[in-house]
Symmetry: C2
Subunit: 426 residues, 2 copies
């Protein structure tokens, strides 16, 4: 009876687990120093939660289940709907701004590819209650604080930034109707992944008017904020949105992460709920999928039955990030080494019980200690001590009978000293 693991999932053997722990502990450390508090929700929610506002792509990728009462549930494909639900439930008790983070396990029934699995971990940072673009800047800074912390520089990664509010105004000015925007975002989001021709075809299927299409394609070629500022007939709202983008870039400069950031009108984001600043983080070589992304979603809490409160945040998954850090040689050497304080060896079977006793006592004192299950010869035990990366080895031998002493061997230097056994037994 041999059962394989499910395709697209991972087994975390101790080495892979050490990598995952290092990544996630880094996320936690940086979140806390940026003033965020940790939260989490259940692994599943009512199916409906993901059918309201996440957009079609995510709804199609749900792992659905039915509980014994016949209720339709789904394993979470993202944590933002849970965040919206939780914040809404306690909205009057929570001091604002709400600065929360989480590192949830998420599942999406996608076709597994490089950097994309059916089960992954995602760092989420959110600021709720602040409509100022400063919150968007802080969120981007926080991502970059972590990415710099693990050794990535502006030569390795880039944050591409745009604004849905601005894009919406520009699209409306081409004659697109407000109701067409959501479907259009889904197509524009694919812009960088498609050839010019495929993009034109896809757009043409949605927007029948060839002139409109041409204008939209023209828009997507805008290279800078200045170029857009120079466009004729910008609406007041478009100007407002542009000013916001400008102020965001100024703030990122003040925060000294300006080098990492660039404007890119083609950044739209796949999720349906974004309303303002949107961004994605990429490797500079451009070989990998997005490392992460996020943006402002000012209407989501309201759509989940809560008050009208602005919000902004991001998500960074562990898969692409892990690949990039590995490729840059930044992963293996930063992993903390598993170390024992002591390994306890016995030169003879008669001392075995004493080895067990010392081991137990030292562990109770908070030290990391191991011993050998086999009363093997001393050489083998010393090898095990070395394999398990012990700092020191306590050897129980004849000195214990004669003088109540134990040998303590320094595993790195090789030096030995005799220490009274009482020190270890009290």
């Amino acid at each position: 009876m041999k059962i394989p693991p499910v395709k697209g999932t991972r087994d975390f053997y101790p080495h892979e687990m050490a990598v995952r722990n290092w990544l996630i502990e880094g996320w936690k450390k940086v979140s806390v120093r940026n003033g965020f508090e940790e939260y989490d929700g259940p692994i599943f929610e009512y199916l409906q939660m993901y059918q309201i506002k996440s957009g079609d792509e995510i709804s199609e990728q749900l792992f659905r289940l039915t509980d014994r009462g016949g209720r339709e549930l789904a394993i979470r494909p993202e944590i933002t709907p849970t965040l919206a639900r939780m914040v809404n439930q306690q909205i009057n008790a929570l001091p604002r701004p709400i600065k929360w983070f989480s590192t949830p396990r998420l599942c999406r029934a996608e076709r597994p590819q490089k950097g994309r699995l059916r089960e992954f971990f995602q760092w989420n940072i959110d600021i709720i209650g602040i409509d100022d673009v400063l919150a968007d800047a802080e969120v981007i800074f926080c991502a970059l604080d972590y990415l710099q912390e693990v050794g990535l520089t502006a030569k390795d990664i880039v944050v591409k930034i745009s604004s849905r509010k601005m894009l919406a105004e520009l699209l409306l000015s081409t004659g697109v109707a407000e109701t067409e925007l959501e479907a259009l975002y889904a197509i524009l989001d694919k812009h960088s992944k498609l050839s010019d021709e495929d993009f034109r075809d896809m757009l043409g299927e949605k927007i029948a008017d060839a002139d409109k299409c041409k204008k939209i394609i023209g828009l997507m070629t805008a290279k800078s904020i200045e170029q857009i500022s120079g466009m004729a007939q910008l609406s007041e709202k478009a100007k407002e949105a542009l000013d916001e983008v400008k102020r965001l870039f100024e703030l990122l400069k003040v925060m000294r992460v300006g080098d990492f950031c660039e404007f890119d009108i083609a950044i739209v984001r796949g999720l349906a709920y974004y309303t303002g600043i949107v961004f994605e983080i990429y490797d500079k070589v451009g070989e990998l999928r997005a490392i992460g992304g996020g943006g402002r979603y000012d209407n989501l809490l309201k759509q989940f039955g809560g008050p009208d409160i602005p919000a902004t945040g991001f998500g960074i998954g562990d898969c692409v990030l892990g690949i990039l850090l590995e490729e840059k040689g930044l992963l293996q050497r930063q992993l903390p080494k598993h170390r024992l304080d002591y390994f306890v060896a016995a030169t003879d079977k008669q001392f075995f019980q004493k080895a067990v006793e010392i081991t137990a006592m030292l562990r109770r004192k908070g030290l990391a200690v191991n011993f050998s299950y086999k009363a093997a010869n001393l050489g083998k035990q010393l090898k095990q001590a070395s394999d398990e990366n012990a700092r020191k080895c306590i050897i129980i031998g004849d000195e214990f009978i004669k003088n109540n002493e134990l040998i303590v061997k320094d595993m790195a230097g090789g030096s030995q000293e005799l220490i009274k056994a009482d020190k270890f037994f009290t």
Copy 2:
């Protein structure tokens, strides 16, 4: 559109998250110092995995799902089958003994009750490759190392220990057939939860022969190892199993946790796969469900298509443990306090951008720092600094313009000093 959370799941707001983190980090710390390495598997596996050997109770409580390829999956209700699968996959590459731990999120479709939820976290410790009862002792020691670490004493908790191997031999000697054992364990496991009458009825339904029933009920009243040792006509195998139990208690004494442990023939365990020593940990008052339990499962790896390798381990959930620690007053006061190193305040709007800059720079240096989104008056900002538990507050005011100096206020003592701004800007 307001969607509630799913019944039997928990939302972890920052306070609840701090509790969960404290529990799980404690499990991790104690596991590592006892020489265990961390692993984890996917949140779901093929449904079949849980239908082979876990027993009927768990199979009925599965959250089942079907992926897009029509494959039947289930969210993991326990991690031991995953452990067996993972170890079998790499059996030739893994040095033995394999000492692994995990702290998985698990789901069971049970009726939620006190200490029992549909989603919970469980600390798992396993030693694979050692048939000696010393491994069982180490596993029990490790649980008690943690439980003592968080402040529980032999006055608060008890480890009740028995042996399925011994029980099997004693049952066989009453005339029960080998094939009846598994079903019988499920009934005997309920012994302590049922009245004598209900237990007799339940047993009678399974074992028709009244004389056999009487003998089995007699067995379950045995109070000590000595009483069983004194029984007439013990088989050689029964004597062997008894000797193992005796040696286990001796080892637990050597490890100085003997005070926590007692023999209890009624400990059987619900899961089908146990083969030797079994144990459960209870609060001494006896008001709560078991805090945890475990035992030896020597056949499981083989049943999962691997080699014949012995194994022993335990699981401790977070729900009952959390309730017990709360009741004993051991929880709240041990939670680590969320602290900021600095809060950065500005006395005037003109300094706001400088506040943002200092905050960003100090965070990049690894310090936990926050600032106020509102350029409110200084009093309000100092209150926020105090609410967020900051050690020090940096105040940017007129001294910055005049002398390029910042006020650094010690939040506990209230003392202030002037420090050159360069210190914070480089």
